[in-house]
Amino acid sequence: MSADSATIKSIDSLILLKSLYQPLDTFEELSKTNPTPVHILMGYAVWLLILPPVFSLIGAANFGWRLGAAEPLYMTMDTLWVISLGYFAALAFGLISTAIISRWMASTYGANTSLGRHMALITIVGEPLAIASIAHLFPDVFVNVLVMIPTMIWSMYLLYKGIPIVLEIPPERGMLMASALVGWLLVAAVSLLGLSMTLWVMGVGPLLGV
């Protein structure tokens, strides 16, 4: 029990703040712990996951979606709630499935198989994106693209750097595993686009003439 407490205490200090300015040290510390996946998910990840949908809800309600045309696209509050809940569900699915897939890949690349570590790693990698989603407060697509692309590059850097350290494998092997995960993340991102479009066509979201 005391060992568990120590483990939990040691990761308390690292995930949310320290990983932002000292990510490599954080990865080193994480590689010495075995947190439980539920603790990471409920203690940290869920609070980060909630940020983008909340920012998006506030932004869209106040400023409308600004897609480049003269007039912003306004939607009813009901529609915005549905979109934000869907956004949260997609992000939660993305995080959990990525952690599970990462652990599934671990045996191929000889990596550590602690699901908690995978979950923590993915949380740290995704954290800058969750924080940068503050740009959703002003939902102009181009402003968001300008903010999110550099953040995404930083997150990819964290993924490539973090995997070998946290999962205790040589950097070259980590590069292969990170690239496989990037493949999955690209597919997940494009799935989100496809799913959104299907929902719009089905009548959930902006009013489309289809």
């Binding site: 979606w65 897609l67 480049g68 045309a69 003269a70 007039e71 696209l73 191929t108 690349y109 697509v141 181009f142 968001n144 693209v145 692309i149 995404m152 590059i153 040589p170 070259e172 092997r173 590069m175 292969l176 690239s179 496989a180 990037v182 493949g183 999955w184 690209l186 597919v187 494009v190 799935s191 686009l193 496809g194 959104s196 479009m197 299907t198 719009w200 066509v201 089905m202 902006p206 009013l207 489309l208 003439g209 289809v210």
Partner: protein
């Protein structure tokens, strides 16, 4: 025993084709960058017809697909078919004819596009004299390739040769059928097909050119060069054979997904959508086979910059082959079609998959062909990061632009009237086009680094003479 000409593989033609391929890559990508700049500053065509977007765009696509892509495929097919058959090329002079005649077609064909000659069929714009010339060279390519297989000394036909073989046969079939036309003058002909039939035939061609040339041909490259790179056999040979036949069977049906909500019968659209979704299985089977093959060869990454390109190309192959079937779903297509998302999808395949796998193969092949180290590993590593950054930036900007366009021009107000005008929507796309221009410049910059690196590696070197090894009796022909 004295070595004869027949004791060594014919690699000079391979080197020459690689050189042409790199030249076309630089030229056609530069044209791509120029037309992307035209979308930001339309005035830079300076009122010249030959500099207009409408003429330069097919020059870009034809230059990349037929100049860069086919030259690379011919080079790698000639290289690998000799090694997997344990014989020299059949009809080597015909191979040289293919090499030079093909470059002449690309050069003159490109000039004819600038002059405004066009059949107006996408990716088949060249007019009938070029179509006949292409058919002749393509059949010659087939004679060299299949002739080499016919005289092989090793009984099994290795999987890469099945993919290269399907590329040659299917492209010949598609090219000839789609380009059947009645010539009127030297620079004008009329398609033998009319209306919706013409559209169906065109996209049967267009989509399967993507399938059998840009996918199947390059999979041939993967199946030969990836195990060579990794220094171990393909992870599952059985899976590669199953994936090949499933790929060949399902791809050929998918073309009409380019014609959703058009005048063709709805069941044809639905069938194409269904087959496109099925296509995901063989595509990903190959991706998994590639990833698993390379997964145990991680030590090679320490010394071999080329392997990184191949690893990333498999990730982008996975993305593009997932994105394509998804975009073929009618309820997604209704929003995504006619938007820049399609352009982004094509480039996730063309830059992330085709170019990356070719770059990785060239970095592997050129030093071996001349028996010396790559001129600069550092430049190759820089190229890798530039290629990755350029591709990602390209895809992201086109995703954002495409989704915005789809949403904006389908948006209606409470009365059911369109909310936004087409012109206004397009005028608002400038920031994305600027971002895409930067992406293109970064990617082109990386390609220029490779061109310099390969030039310095080849400079002053004669091709290394590679002798044909003895055949294991267990696999011999007799």
């Amino acid at each position: 025993m004295e070595a004869t000409a027949n004791s060594f593989y014919q690699d000079k033609v391979v080197i020459r084709l690689i050189q042409f391929s790199v030249i076309w890559a630089v030229a056609a990508m530069a044209v791509g960058v120029y037309i992307s700049a035209e979308l930001v500053w339309p005035g830079i065509d300076f009122g010249q017809f030959w500099l207009s977007f409408g003429r330069l765009r097919p020059l870009h696509t034809n230059g990349i697909i037929f100049g860069f892509g086919v030259s690379a495929l011919m080079a790698t097919a000639f290289y690998s078919v000799q090694r997997t058959s344990h014989v020299t090329l059949y009809a080597p002079r015909l191979a040289w004819f293919c090499c030079y005649a093909w470059q002449l077609i690309v050069l003159l064909g490109g000039l004819s596009l600038l002059a405004g000659w066009t059949s107006s069929k996408e990716y088949a714009e060249l007019e009938w004299p070029f179509d006949i010339a292409i058919a002749i060279v393509w059949v010659s390519f087939g004679i060299v390739f299949f002739g080499t297989i016919a005289k092989r000394k090793i009984r099994p036909i290795y999987i890469s040769n099945w993919f290269y073989g399907s590329l040659i046969i299917v492209i010949a079939m598609l090219h000839i059928v789609n380009n059947l036309a009645i010539p009127v003058t030297l620079d004008k002909s009329y398609s033998l097909y009319a209306g919706a039939q013409d559209a169906v035939v065109q996209w049967w061609y267009g989509h399967n050119a993507v399938g059998f040339l840009l996918t199947g041909g390059f999979l041939g490259m993967v199946y030969y060069f990836l195990p060579k790179h990794a220094g171990r056999p393909i992870w599952s040979y059985r899976l590669s054979v199953v994936a090949f036949w499933a790929f060949v069977y399902s791809y050929i049906w998918a073309g009409p997904h380019h014609l959703h909500y058009s005048a063709i019968p709805e069941w044809v659209q639905s069938l194409a959508m269904g087959m496109s979704l099925i296509l995901l299985a063989p595509s990903w089977a190959t991706m998994i086979n590639g990833i698993m093959t390379v997964s145990t060869a991680w030590e090679k990454l320490r010394t071999d910059p080329a392997l990184k390109f191949i690893v990333l190309s498999l990730a982008f192959y996975g993305l593009a082959t997932f994105e394509g079937p998804m975009m073929s779903i009618r309820s997604v297509n209704v929003v995504s079609h006619f938007t820049d998302w399609t352009v982004g999808h094509v480039h996730s395949g063309a830059l992330g998959w085709n170019a990356m796998i070719t770059y990785g193969t060239f970095y592997f092949l050129v030093p071996r062909l001349v028996g010396r180290e790559l001129h600069s590993t550092r430049l190759a590593n820089m190229h890798f990061w530039m290629a990755l950054a350029g591709t990602m930036l390209y895809i992201m900007s086109m995703w954002a632009a495409g989704v915005s366009q789809g949403l904006l021009w389908l948006s209606v107000d409470q009365l059911g009237e369109l909310s936004f005008g087409f012109k206004d929507i397009m005028a608002s796309m400038t920031p994305y086009y600027l971002m895409r221009l930067v992406a293109g410049l970064v990617f082109l910059g990386g390609t220029l680094l490779m061109a310099y690196n390969l030039f310095m590696t080849l400079k002053g070197q004669q091709p290394k003479r590679a002798s044909i090894p003895a055949v294991d009796p267990a696999y011999g022909m007799s």
